[in-house]
Symmetry: C2
Subunit: 214 residues, 2 copies
């Protein structure tokens, strides 16, 4: 069955976003530093329509993460915008502009119903109000045999981790302190069989890959 | 000048000890799992008077940590025992028995005065009530040109980190969740120039070495 794969960048003190997240500052104060290692990479720039970039020890990690993914699941906060029911007059359509980098079906966990949203480049957003199991089932069907990526944020990831539904986890450990923000493992006390299988040291980041013990 | 070197084992969720620490359970619930990687090592067993043991990728890390250390600083909670003034009738003499594994002068940060304690094997405990700067100065003198180890616990480490006095930091990142306990970087928001210089993947642990940028 298609694996559910979770990846997240995390500070040394365990945060996946800095303090004081807002629409203007979606990653929180200092949170953008969690992603400094990825932006220069050619492997990251290409799917975002950008030319050039670096090749280093992170390249194979990013290529593997992007490979064989047929659908994505994310939480409402990662999709972003305002809290509460969707604004029908000025709908929030995500952080990513008219051509988001997913290029496959994306399922957004929310308590508030909304019709599907189709943007350019093959990205569709489907809003799921029936919970994490329903979203995973829909994503698996949509992925047509490929894997499903769990994009975050922390709250959505914690729900899947606590349900034991995550098959693979990659932590991009960034050697900085954020001092507060969104704790990646808040309320999670059990990895449900996920074990460290691979570590990659790269410029500005250490990649830790976890998988279920065979 | 002799470097102040801090090392600590830390869970994925950032704890250096589990929840509910006590005299009976000094590492907190589950906290002993932070040290599972080190106990089998020959490099750890030898200074503890034990024969045999394993050699793996952690060996060089442990040897480097034990090398060229002439004195150790630790907080009151790591020395252990009861809170408040020292019990004169039944004095707490540390967790380590009559022959502690330090074999050099150890300086314990405390608010409560106590005469020095000399145990077997060259380990002396000196109780410092004048704060972290005084303890560091005394330890540097006692180290006679070698480095000073900052053994922990978290509170003592946080004071030295926040004062920018730590010259080298090694995190032994253990791929488990503790779900609570003593947060290694609680209240620390700045690494004061410490940068990741080296990563070593080993069985059950990933070692991250930080040093000041030259």
């Amino acid at each position: 069955m298609a694996a559910l794969r979770f990846r997240i960048a995390m500070s040394l003190d365990g945060y996946g976003a800095g303090p004081s997240q807002s629409r203007e500052n979606p990653l929180g104060i200092g949170g953008e530093r969690l992603h400094d290692w990825v932006f220069p990479l050619a492997a990251w720039r290409a799917p975002h329509g950008l030319e050039g970039g670096e090749v280093n020890a992170s390249t194979a990690v990013v290529e593997e993460l992007l490979d064989n993914v047929g659908a994505t699941i994310m939480g409402r906060n990662m999709f972003g915008g305002h809290p509460g029911p969707w604004d029908a007059k000025e709908p929030w359509n995500g952080w990513w502009g008219h051509n988001p980098p997913f290029h496959h079906p994306v399922f957004v966990l929310t308590r508030f119903p909304r019709p599907p949203l189709t943007l350019d480049g093959g990205t569709t957003f489907t809003f799921v109000t029936e919970g994490i199991q329903a979203a995973l089932a829909a994503a698996r069907t949509a992925a047509r045999g490929q894997d499903v990526a769990l994009a975050g944020g922390a709250n959505a990831a914690q729900q899947y981790l606590n349900a034991g539904l995550v098959d693979e986890m990659v932590l991009h450990l960034v050697p900085i302190l954020l001092g507060g923000g969104e704790a990646v493992f808040k309320g999670v006390t059990d990895l449900h069989g996920l074990q460290l299988v691979h570590t990659v040291a790269a410029p500005g980041v250490t990649h830790l890959k976890f998988a279920r013990h065979a």
